[in-house]
Amino acid sequence: MRSLIGYGEYADRPARAMVRCVSHCRRPPGYNRPMTCPKCGATVTPEEAFCPACGTKIGDTADEVRHRKALELAHKKMETARKWLVVVGLLTWVSAVIIYFMQSSQVEDEIHQVETQLRNMSPEQRDELFKQNIGMTYEEALAHDRGQVKLLLVINIVLGVIYLGLSFVARKHALVATVIALLMFVTVIAVSAVLEPKTLYQGIFVKIGFVAALVAAVQAAVQARRAAASA
């Protein structure tokens, strides 16, 4: 008897139309909705969010649909921005290490040159000369130069940590995380460009792509909030 109904082993399952479609089958929205009101049984068209007979809420209103779409767009943009945050954080770490080794070998070379130039001077004379020129003793100047290299390493590592941290914060607080990342990133670019103009062109496409992704994410997050407020 079962075989007469159809595929026997499925016959006792709920009607297929009531199962929510999870595949990408391109069915129109509202396909899975009941076409009669569950409360009063009146017929309902797929466009109607409320039952015209009894006023029961059945589907999404136009505002809710707009909100959902804005939210989906914001999530998509946010995911892109988060990937950029991870990439920029890792790139910051890599460049931190490269810059550290380049700068420290440069500083050690300079120190070596100065030492060979001043090898005939007594330590007191050397200190005197340095005090007059830069206001520090010789040892202080060495510590200062080496300290600056280490400082830049620490700054870059911390920046990388902040970008990666923001990529996690962005899961829950998309707007705040993206705005902070945007402010920090542009400020760091500007300051580095003043201190060392050639850094402006280094990785220019990564910089442009990151800023564009952040601006898009901020904008989408704002629009999702606005839609949420009107829904």
Binding site: E47, P52, G147, A190
Partner: protein, 258 residues
Amino acid sequence: MDLPPPEAPERCAACGAALRPGAVFCGACGHRAGEPPPPPRPAARPAWPDIRSALVFYFVLLGVQVATMIMAAVGVEEFTLMWVGDALLAAAVLVGALAIRRDLGGLYGRAGFGPLGYAAIVALSYPVFVLVAMFVHTLSTAFHIHEHTSVLERGLAWSVLFVCVSPPIVEELAFRGVIFGLLRRHLAGWEALLLSAFAFAILHLSVPTLVTHLPLGLYFGWLRARGGSLWPGMLAHALHNGWVVAQDAVGVMPPFGW
């Protein structure tokens, strides 16, 4: 035989959607047909223009700071740099504030703080300064940063003007007035507070202050949010900077070997 003209479909009083013949409720918004429409909801102010203005305002201030840095790099004399940088920043903040907000007077109203609140601000200023100074000192020693130049070279009056008077006025208006105000219209209080504090900390363009000015920015911003006026924050800011000048002039740090 004349047919009656086709009746136009009845419309929902609340949302204006066409009603199905015989419908009791509107299918689009659920409003009951025949009832008076609900009062219209006030339209939400669009958020993006305001947040964009706050970002643009920040980037203009960053531009001024960068211009000052470039002037320093090409060797402009330090005192000239100080007042030119200050004047540029003040002008940018004032023009931006006037362009963005039309109710600047509202920022300088009576604060919701009594004499006790102001007394607490005065009393707190010293421990706050000591914490900040200790941190900056530790970091500067660890990395041999010698960026601190004495503000007293031109005399006490100038340093009071450039450290205790102008920054509280200009920075409070910029960060707590304009940026916090714009963000607060659309974001939650803590979000606006955190973002304005971050902007305040980053824009000082200095490594030790990046860490110390975030809590300071949160403190001043909290005073602004709590008091509803810029005055308490300006007082706290001026007092903090006053301790910095006093430390330079006579040394006011507690005697723990600083």
